[in-house]
């Protein structure tokens, strides 16, 4: 179980990005964090992974206070993170990344399992360099496959839908559903996509550095779709966030 206790974080300029995030994420659930741009979703996720250090508050993973643990320690304690904007590497191959993520040498068939989850063929990609020869969509899908290869206790995906095609996205949603069914750890996904929200066990709405709403999908999603949640409705304006 992951507990975020009154997290706060302010930019050096004085702008409060995270004001008070207090949240409990149960084991083996698929939890989606959604909300308007700039509301603090990614920063919250980065605080969980240790990439951003909160000014105050505590992060508890399975009863252990990990607030002072660095990124490496948190990764080793079972937190995986897929970045919204993946980084490229000259010289490192897709195989290198998957092997580092899984912590073992991978045969092509094993790599195939991870890559097919994101709609990529292992034989075509396994020895490709993680450089500019890969398109934005390809590198994004490999980023997600790398997080999946960690087989972590808690896997965080920051806007996995961003930059990938509809077919790959559909395959990814199926993968998330499979992981959820098989109770393969907790999935924490930052997303604006209705298809991802619709498979969530729980939805957390983060806006202006606070949690606006948190509850089962059946409770939260209808209010999001109706656009009745926030006074100025930054989630989509009149008619709800998905009715454009």
């Amino acid at each position: 179980m992951l507990k975020l206790e009154h997290l706060a974080w302010t930019l050096p300029t004085g702008e409060e990005i995270i004001k008070d995030i207090d949240l409990t994420i149960p084991d083996n659930k698929l939890v989606v964090i959604t909300g308007p741009n700039g509301g603090g979703k990614t920063t919250t996720a980065k605080m969980i992974a240790g990439i951003v250090t909160p000014d105050s508050g505590r992060i508890i993973l399975d009863g252990e206070d990990i607030t002072d643990c660095d990124i490496t320690e948190r990764a080793r304690k079972g937190i995986a993170f897929a970045f919204q904007q993946p980084v490229r590497f000259k010289g490192l191959t897709v195989r290198d990344m998957l092997e580092m993520a899984s912590g073992k040498n991978l045969a092509e068939e094993s790599a195939c399992g991870y890559l097919s989850n994101v709609g990529l063929c292992a034989s075509e990609y396994i020895d490709r360099e993680m450089d500019t020869s890969l398109s934005g969509g390809e590198i994004k899908r490999i980023e997600i496959a790398t997080a999946l290869a960690r087989n972590a206790k808690l896997s965080i995906f920051d806007e996995p839908e961003a930059g990938i095609d509809l077919w790959s996205f559909a395959r990814l949603v199926e993968t998330f559903e499979d992981l959820k069914k098989n109770h393969n750890g907790t999935l924490l996904i930052i997303s604006h996509q209705e298809r991802i929200l619709s498979i969530a066990d729980e939805i957390v709405v983060v806006a202006d550095g606070n949690i606006l709403q948190h509850g089962p999908r059946e409770e939260v999603l209808p209010t999001l779709l109706a656009g009745t949640m926030m006074p100025c409705c930054p989630l989509g304006g009149k008619g709800g966030m998905f009715n454009e």
Partner: protein
């Protein structure tokens, strides 16, 4: 051959106690051992130190080993090796140099290699350079590689400086005929107060000739690298030069690429990027469970692979 030389040979040419096929091993300025084969004839030069290597057209897939070692200080070795590769031959040439120095005097190897590559021949030329030993005397390696490619010839050059070379002055030139291709992959590491100068000059004289030159380097400590490349297009041709360098600690790099197009259909491109390892790269690998130091090592190892 002493243990130091054996170890140097292992590092630069994967030597495991025995070489097969054609080879010439040079140690401290002298020929240590030599073997010719049916298709590869190795002969000593008469007027200057060095050898001529004659590779016949019948040589297909053969490997020729021409390593050189300096095992102690006070040696300043100069050697001229000429490779005469007949039309249609297909060979791998493993050269490379190791310099060991536990003393106070400098240890130096200057290898001047010339490649005369016949029509439609294919050569993969592999060389590794390394310096070992903890003496105060410097370890110096100064390779000169001059290549002459006839029509349709292909020369792939895979050149690596591993570590421990205090100073190196690396000069490579190539002149290409029609449809000839010159492919270079250089990887270079410097540390401490080491310096490395690299200078490529490629002249594309033949129609549809091409060069693909990629240099990747890492400058650590207080080391300094100077990279210069010149591609001259005198015909319809393609030229690509790429210089990427990673800086670490106080390392510095100067890159001076030059393109000279003397024909309307010469297509020449240069790319260069110098900088430290991106923080995002370290961050990503740390989210996979690597420490900062492990992440840096993996990024550099991949970069130089």
């Amino acid at each position: 051959m002493n243990k130091t030389t054996e170890e140097l040979l292992r590092l630069i040419s994967d030597f495991d106690g025995e070489l097969t096929g054609a080879y010439n091993i040079r140690v401290d300025g002298e020929c240590d051992s030599r073997q010719s084969t049916e298709h590869v004839r190795i002969e000593s030069k008469i007027m200057e130190p060095g050898i001529d290597i004659f590779i016949s057209a019948e040589a297909q897939g053969e490997t020729v080993f021409i390593p050189a070692c300096v095992s102690h200080g006070g040696v300043n070795d100069l050697v001229y090796n000429d490779f005469h590769i007949e039309a249609g031959a297909d060979v791998i040439i493993v050269a490379g140099c190791g310099v060991h120095n536990d003393g106070h005097e400098d240890a130096q190897h200057n290898g001047i290699h010339r490649f005369f590559v016949g029509k439609n021949a294919h050569v993969l030329y592999k060389e590794k350079h390394i310096g070992t030993g903890d003496g105060n005397g410097e370890r110096k390696i100064n390779p000169v590689t001059d290549c002459y490619l006839e029509d349709g010839a292909v020369l792939e050059m895979d050149t690596i400086q591993l570590s421990g070379v205090d100073t190196t002055d690396r000069k490579t030139s190539a002149t290409l005929g029609s449809n000839a291709k010159f492919i270079v992959r250089e990887r270079l590491t410097t540390d401490g107060d080491e310096t490395a100068d690299t200078d490529f000059v490629v002249t594309l004289n033949g129609e549809n000739s091409g060069v693909d030159l990629v240099s990747r380097s890492v400058a650590r400590g207080n080391s300094h690298q100077f990279y210069k490349s010149t591609i001259i297009g005198n015909n319809r041709c393609t030229g690509h030069s790429e210089c990427d360098a990673i800086l670490s600690e106080q390392g510095t790099v100067i890159a001076l690429p030059a393109l000279e197009a003397n024909h309307i259909d010469a297509e020449l491109v240069h790319e260069a990027a110098i900088g430290k390892i991106a923080g995002e790269q370290i961050l990503k690998l740390r989210t996979l469970g690597l420490t900062e130091e492990e992440a840096e090592e993996r990024i550099i190892a991949g970069f130089l692979k």
